[in-house]
């Protein structure tokens, strides 16, 4: 397993070490974003979240493997080797924050920071029985995050339990002058001991799930979660979900177009190992050769599709219109409920053989991209199922209600068998 790309020279004190996905820059450890294009790259500064961790007394334990440039859902797309699933051997670990999730699942780490554009924190958390949170867009600084899909990229905490995730969120949340889009408040009170049997009843929205969208274990996980909340006095309401296939289509157009734009800066000369010259004549030819050699297969696909989507115009416009439609859906849904619940993924982690199918891979983030498009806080929480495979629920709260989301997740965590 290649979950570790770099270790800090000295091990942090127990309980104070935090692993970083390798697209979060550090001035004392290389940052490769899982790509040959950035091999050996040593940034000149720490990301804002890293500075905040250090100021709060945490130490960077090391850099964790990831799918190249955060492009991928499998954990198999890191240029320095695939990441195995320690919880379900022979199955996908999920991506792109695959190394962080694997390190937490094996017990080598209890806390990590990942990044999530369309599910990159939440999917590997779901596949490894760990907890992963995507905060509200604008509450955590992206300064020092290697950009992929800028309108959706979000740094978020990952951990062995909700308490660990909440502790990290307290440290990293808050406005940052170095990221103009990060203007949300610092973390408020997070009452992880809150009993939802007290006070106004929580309204739990149960998002509809199509007959082929989730397997039986996924639905059992939902039922177990809702049971915990309803026993504590919560009211459950049904919410009809939008077509998730169109959400995926809109996400892929927007993310690929933004990735094409962001990754245009990598020419092989300003970052990464020196180019040996080869036979290419002139800068333009050399640049093309380097990009072809150093970008992996999945990145190439996204760049080509992104180039087409961005230049075509119509696809991009349609995706933007659909994003507004999805945001309007969530606005209406949160008039009727405080938190939405749905499966985190369509099935248990697919076997490596099953993952050869493009269709299987394309659907992995089915339940996760909607909240990415809407910029909402969401969290994946593991649930024990009858057959024992790693399964999880996906909880979503209104924008800015990250603290409440954590409190609800902690309550469910305590109540689950």
């Amino acid at each position: 397993m290649t979950a570790v790309l770099a270790r800090a020279p000295s091990a942090p004190e127990p309980g104070r070490g935090v692993w970083l996905k390798d697209n979060i820059v550090t001035c004392d450890l290389p940052t490769t974003a899982g790509s040959r294009m950035l091999e050996g790259h040593l940034p000149s500064f720490d990301a804002t979240v890293v500075t905040r961790l250090r100021q709060a007394g945490f130490a960077v334990a090391g850099k964790a493997a990831m799918d190249e440039f955060a492009i991928g859902s499998t954990g198999r797309e890191c240029a320095f080797g695939p990441v195995d699933n320690p919880v379900a051997p022979g199955c996908l670990v999920g991506g792109s924050s695959s190394g962080c999730a694997a390190l937490i699942a094996t017990g080598e780490a209890s806390a990590a920071l990942g990044s999530d554009a369309g599910g990159s924190i939440r999917l590997p958390a779901a596949f490894t029985r760990t907890v992963g949170m995507r905060p509200t867009r604008g509450r955590v600084s992206r300064n020092g995050l290697v950009a992929m899909a800028s309108s959706m990229d979000t740094i978020g905490p990952m951990g062995s339990d909700v308490g660990t995730v909440a502790a990290l969120f307290r440290v990293i949340a808050g406005p940052d002058l170095d990221d103009a889009t990060c203007d949300g408040p610092a973390c408020g009170d997070v009452d992880l001991a809150r009993d939802f049997a007290q006070g106004a009843p929580l309204r739990v929205g149960l998002l509809s799930v199509g007959p082929t969208e989730s397997d039986v274990d996924g639905m059992a996980a939902i039922a177990a979660t809702v049971r915990v909340l309803v026993r504590a006095g919560a009211a459950a309401v049904s919410v009809t979900a939008p077509d998730r296939r169109r959400q995926l289509a809109a996400y892929r157009v927007l993310a690929d177009a933004e990735a094409w734009s962001n990754l245009a800066r990598y020419d092989g000369f300003r970052h990464g190992p020196p180019y040996d010259g080869g036979t290419a004549a002139g800068w333009r030819a050399a640049r093309t050769r380097i990009r072809t050699d150093r970008f992996g297969a999945e990145v190439r696909v996204r760049l080509v599709h992104g180039a087409w989507a961005l230049e075509s115009g119509e696809a991009l416009a349609a995706a933007e219109r659909h994003r507004r439609r999805i945001r309007a859906f969530y606005d209406r849904a949160f008039q009727r409920c405080d938190v939405l619940v749905e499966p985190a993924c369509p099935s248990a982690p697919p076997s490596l053989a099953a993952a050869e199918s493009p269709k299987v891979i394309a659907d992995l983030d089915r339940f996760l991209v909607g909240t990415s498009l809407a910029g909402l806080p969401s969290l994946v929480l593991p649930v024990r199922t009858v057959r024992g495979g790693p399964r999880a629920v996906h909880l979503t709260a209104p924008a800015g209600a990250d603290e409440r989301l954590l409190a609800v997740a902690a309550f469910i965590e305590r109540g689950l068998p």
Binding site: L206, S208, V209, G210, E213, V216, D217, A220, I222, A223, A224, V226, R227, V230, A236, V237, S238, V239, T240, A241, P242, D243, R244, R245, R246, L248, A249, R252, V253, T288, R289, R291, T292, A297, R300, V301, L303, V304, H305, G306, A307, W308, A309, E311, S312, G313, E314, A315, A317, A318, A319, R321, H322, R325, A328, F329, A333, P358, T385, V386
Partner: protein, 103 residues
């Protein structure tokens, strides 16, 4: 729709992405083309859907994502939750929870 460079959309997009098809082996080229076509078809279907929504918006019948009658919706009533969970070996008591069945 305007494609990059106005010729074959795949070749144009490869150029715009700063990649060199000649430097890839045949299997890599084929895989790249197949994945591109899948994504492009998905995107064009979204364009057609959104164009359709715009066209009917003036009639007052534009699709609403959370309308049960919407063709955009592919779902079952949440009663399925209890039925499927019961098949999985538990959660039958959810059948008695007001709100889930009645909302």
């Amino acid at each position: 729709m305007t494609d990059v460079g106005g010729d074959d959309p795949f070749l144009s997009a490869v150029r715009a992405a700063g990649l060199d098809l000649e430097a890839m082996d045949q299997a890599a080229r084929d895989a790249l083309l197949a994945s591109f076509e899948l994504r492009r078809a998905e995107a064009l279907a979204l364009v057609a859907y959104e164009d359709g929504q715009s066209a009917v918006a003036s009639t007052g019948h534009a699709d609403s994502p959370d309308s049960p009658a919407s063709p955009m919706v592919a779902c079952e009533h949440p009663v399925t939750v209890e039925r499927m969970a019961a098949r999985a070996g538990g959660a039958g008591e959810l059948l008695a929870v007001p709100g889930i069945l009645d909302a």
